[in-house]
Symmetry: C2
Subunit: 188 residues, 2 copies
């Protein structure tokens, strides 16, 4: 029970229910879970180029030859890569920070792989960096930090657009998003 | 009960409960509601300039002398004006379409006050039209229609920004919004 509580969203009650259910009815499934967890923890590491989770030195995206090396999209988490891949509208490479700058928690640039990123910048293949960190205060701060960092390399930097989400109605959109959508209006 | 069902979200059961409650306990409140409804229906009309609801010929916003006549923001509904006013980031005038183009429902430009809008365009005071219709298919179509209409007048037209709402996380944002945020990225 105690070990199960490391899973996100699992409290003491749920852990108890899980433990008894596995013991009573799903022993084979539990053995499989044990094996899979062990294998995953041993085999899955970070891609050496983009820091995405990968079993190989280079992840599938970084190893692909059909991608545009001129575009680099910087995101906070591996799950954001999934989200962007699902849009099927980006054909460049990624760089995963594995978090955002958070000085209070002791998370500085070195924890976000910034030195690795700088190595890539020096290679002179990147023509545009797209900052796709979350539209939160921490995400904005991290995007700002990286944009300052990139300046000396004379690479174009851009930030994903902020504004009203598609399909919504203005009356249900929060004031700050609406204000940003007005300020960032696009000339037709 | 039957009359109460004209209220949005009120079905037969709710109407029944409302009717009995008013009769049993809230007769004075019901009389007041009756009076207020009658007065409102008689007195409140549309502002002659922006078509917002107003008791006077010109609504408070249109009558104000502190607003910028060079900016005109076009919205679908009066409630959108409230939403934008709450952001405190827009100081121009409004024009309320009272709906969107919907040929299947027989709603054409003449129902949206387009002739009135054209009168205002001819007055030569407007320098920018901000299209703040909803980010829905119908809202986009209406915005496109108006932008085409404005072209001959050589007035700058803009559309509120589409993109990720503030404070969210990429992983919870729908694919189409995320795709739009990538396409519409702003160069820093």
């Amino acid at each position: 029970m105690d070990a199960l509580r490391c899973l996100p969203g699992v409290g003491p009650k749920t852990a108890q229910r899980m433990a008894f259910q596995l013991l009573a009815r799903h022993r084979d499934n539990a053995r499989r879970l044990s094996y899979v967890l062990h294998e995953a923890m041993e085999k899955i590491n970070h891609c050496q180029r983009c820091r995405l989770f990968s079993e190989t030195d280079l992840c599938k995206i970084c190893a692909s030859t059909h991608r545009d090396a001129a575009l680099l999209c910087i995101v906070e988490n591996p799950i954001d890569v999934m989200a962007i891949e699902q849009t099927a509208s980006f054909k460049g490479f990624y760089f995963v920070l594995m978090g955002h700058l958070s000085p209070l928690d002791g998370i500085g640039p070195e924890h976000l792989g910034i030195p690795q990123l700088q190595e890539q910048l020096k290679q002179n293949t990147i023509q545009e960096i797209i900052l796709a960190t979350n539209p939160t205060v921490e995400g904005e701060a991290t995007a700002h930090y990286i944009s300052e960092l990139v300046k000396p390399y004379k690479i174009k930097t851009s930030r994903i657009a902020h504004g009203v989400p598609l399909g919504g109605e203005l009356e249900y959109i929060d004031s700050s998003t609406l204000a940003r959508a007005l300020i960032g209006r696009e000339v037709l």
